[in-house]
Symmetry: C2
Subunit: 340 residues, 2 copies
C-alpha cells in the first residue's frame, strides 16, 4: 500500500527523485508495508466519503480480476505468469519490497522467481542473471530491485532487461513508444498507469480536459503527462522551475501530484470540482499518533478535499494501485507469450 | 528553405500530420525548393526588422561552422562525414527533397550516397539496402525518403535504421531518451532542434519561462515540447482537443506553432513580449502575387509580430534550420565514429 514511490524495482536515482524516497520515508514505508496501514488520513477528516477515491478497493477488484484471468490462462494454455525479482545486497527496505511483491504474486496465482546476490557481486555476474531470466520462458516479467551497489551501472543493467519482460515499462524504447503517436508501448510504468486506471474506472472524462502534472520524474510525472496527453487532455507539467505553479494548477480539471514534498499542493491550488490524484507519501510529525508521525501525500488533503470533486487519500489511494499494475503488466506479458 | 514540414526524410503518415504536408503545399514547396524563395513575408510588412529572427542567416552561419569542422575532421582523422539517402519510386516532391539534401551535403564537404529504387521494390529488398548502409563505415547518417509505397511498412523500415545512424532522431529509442531525465538521445529531430537552436543563438531565456507548443506531431510538436521541458521551461502542449488554445497560448513566454493550419495563431493569442517560432508553411491565395499565392506560416505574422518581441518570418525562419540541423546531426555522428 505504501509503495507509491518505492516502486517494486526502485528507479534510477536522479536529482529529481521525490523527497519521500529518501531515508526517513523509506524507513517508515518499510514499517507500513509489514504492519497494518492506518486508516485513510485522519479519522477527524472533514472530506466526505463520497469524494474519496478508494484506491485500495479498486486495486482489490483488479487483483481479483487478475486472479480469475490467471486461472483461465492455466486452464486454457497450461501457462502460469511468472515474475522474477533480483535482489543485490541486504538492504532492509529492498528486502521488504521484494517480499511484498512475491506475496502479491502468490495471491493472484503467479509463480515468482528470485535471485539474491551478495552486495559485492560483479556487474558481469548480475548481467548473467538477467540474461538467464531473459531466456527463461517461464519468466514473463523481470524486476531488478534498486538501488544497486555503487560499482554497478543501473543503466547498463536495466537496459539489459529484455523489452518483452520490462514490466516496469522504464526501458527507453517503451518510453519512446509512449511519447509517439501511432505507437504503443509494450508496458506502461506502474504508478502512472495506476493513476489513469483510477480515473478511467471512475469514468472521469480526460479528453478535452486540462491537466496539471506536478513533478517530472521518469517514474511518475513524465509518463503520467504522456498518458494524459495520449488521452487528449491538455497537459502542463509543473516543476521546481515553474514560476507560478499555484496558478497553473488552479486551472486544471485533473491534478496529478508527484513532487515528493509533503502537502506542497495547497487547497487554493485546486480548481473547484477538480479531480485530484495524490501520488506522494511522506512522513509528517504527529505527536498524537502512536508512532509519532502520520503519512501524508503531496497534497494538503483536507483543504484540497474541500474544493475537489474527487480526491485520493494517502494512504489507500494510488499506493495500492502500483502493485496491482505490476501484476497486470506481468499478466499482459504472459498473455502475449501465450499467443506466440 | 521551405522544408519546415517536408523534413528530409518525410515522417510516418499520421492523422495528425500538418495540413501543410498535403498535396497543395507539397507542390508549392517543391517549387520553392528549386526556385529562389520570395523575400520574407510581404514587402509591405509592418513588423520591424529588429523583431525578425533571421533563420536563413543563422542557418548559413551554422553551415559555415559545419564546413570548417568537416575540414578539420578530414585533416585530423582522414574522415569525411557521409549521408545516405534512399529514394523509392519517382515522386516529384521526394526527388526535389533528395536533391536539396545532396546539394547541402556537397556544400559542407560531406560525401553523399544514394540508392534509388523502383516503386514496386519489395520490403525485403529495401531492408537489404538499409542493412548495407548500416554496415558501411563511410555512412554516418541514413535517411529513407518518405512517403513509401503502400505495400511497405514505414515503421518496419525506419526501425531497421541503426540507431547510431538515425540522423532524423525519430527512432523510439531516441525519443525515449529525449523524454527521460538522465538520458541523452544520440540524435534530436531536426526541425524542433532548429527551433531551440534559434532560441539559444538569440539568447532567449528558456529556463523558468512558460512555453506553449501548438501541435503534437511526432516530427515537431512532441519533440519540441520535450526539448523545452529539458531546458526547464513549463510547457503546455495545445492540440485540436484543447478547449481554449488562445488563453493558454496567451500566457506563454515562448510559442512554437506547428499545427499546420495557415495563420491559425492570431495576434491576440500572443502575450506582449513573447517570442514566436512559426514552423508552419502553407500556401495562401494572393492575386497580387505572381504565382497567385504566397507562403504563410501557422501564425498571423503581421498581428502577432505587433505584440511579439521576436518572431520568425515564413519563409526564412525555421525552414532553413531544418537542413542545417540534419547536417549537424550527421557531423555529430561522424565525430562519434572518429572517437571509436
Amino acid at each position: 500500500m505504501a509503495l507509491a514511490f518505492q516502486r517494486p524495482v526502485g528507479r534510477p536515482a536522479t536529482a529529481s527523485r521525490p523527497a519521500s524516497r529518501r531515508a526517513p520515508a523509506l524507513r517508515i514505508v518499510s514499517a507500513a508495508a509489514t504492519a497494518p496501514a492506518p486508516s485513510p488520513s485522519s479519522s477527524a477528516s472533514s472530506v466526505p466519503a463520497s469524494k474519496l477515491i478508494d484506491g485500495k478497493g479498486i486495486a482489490d477488484t483488479i487483483r481479483s480480476e487478475i486472479a480469475a484471468e490467471v486461472a483461465q490462462l492455466k486452464a486454457k494454455h497450461n501457462l502460469t505468469p511468472g515474475l522474477a525479482v533480483v535482489l543485490v545486497g541486504a538492504r532492509k527496505d529492498s528486502e521488504t519490497y521484494v517480499r511484498s511483491k512475491k506475496k502479491a504474486c502468490a495471491e493472484v496465482g503467479f509463480d515468482s522467481y528470485g535471485t539474491d546476490l551478495p552486495a559485492d557481486v560483479s556487474e558481469e555476474e548480475l548481467l548473467k542473471v538477467v540474461a538467464a531470466y531473459n531466456a527463461d520462458p517461464r519468466v514473463h516479467g523481470i524486476l531488478v530491485q534498486l538501488p544497486l551497489p555503487k560499482h554497478i551501472s543501473e543503466k547498463r543493467i536495466l537496459d539489459a532487461i529484455s523489452i518483452e519482460k520490462d514490466v516496469d515499462g522504464f526501458h527507453p524504447l517503451n518510453i519512446g513508444a509512449l511519447a509517439m503517436r501511432g505507437r504503443d508501448p509494450l508496458f506502461v510504468p506502474c504508478t502512472p498507469k495506476g493513476c489513469i486506471e483510477l480515473l478511467e474506472r471512475l469514468k472521469v472524462p480526460i479528453s478535452g480536459r486540462t491537466a496539471c502534472v506536478i513533478g517530472r520524474s521518469n517514474i511518475v510525472g513524465m509518463p503520467a503527462a504522456l498518458l494524459l496527453q495520449r488521452r487528449d487532455a491538455t497537459v502542463t507539467m509543473v516543476h521546481s522551475k515553474t514560476p507560478d505553479a499555484a496558478k497553473i494548477c488552479g486551472e486544471a480539471d485533473i491534478v496529478i501530484a508527484a513532487c515528493g514534498v509533503a502537502e506542497m499542493v495547497k487547497g487554493d491550488w485546486i480548481k473547484p470540482g477538480a479531480v485530484v490524484i495524490d501520488v506522494g507519501i511522506n512522513a509528517k510529525d504527529d505527536p498524537t499518533a502512536k508512532k509519532g508521525y502520520r503519512l501524508v501525500g503531496d497534497v494538503d488533503f483536507e483543504a484540497a478535499g474541500a474544493r475537489a470533486s474527487l480526491i485520493t487519500p494517502v494512504p489507500g489511494g494510488v499506493g495500492p494501485m502500483t502493485i496491482a499494475m505490476l501484476l497486470q503488466n506481468t499478466l499482459e506479458s504472459a498473455r502475449r507469450a501465450a499467443k506466440h
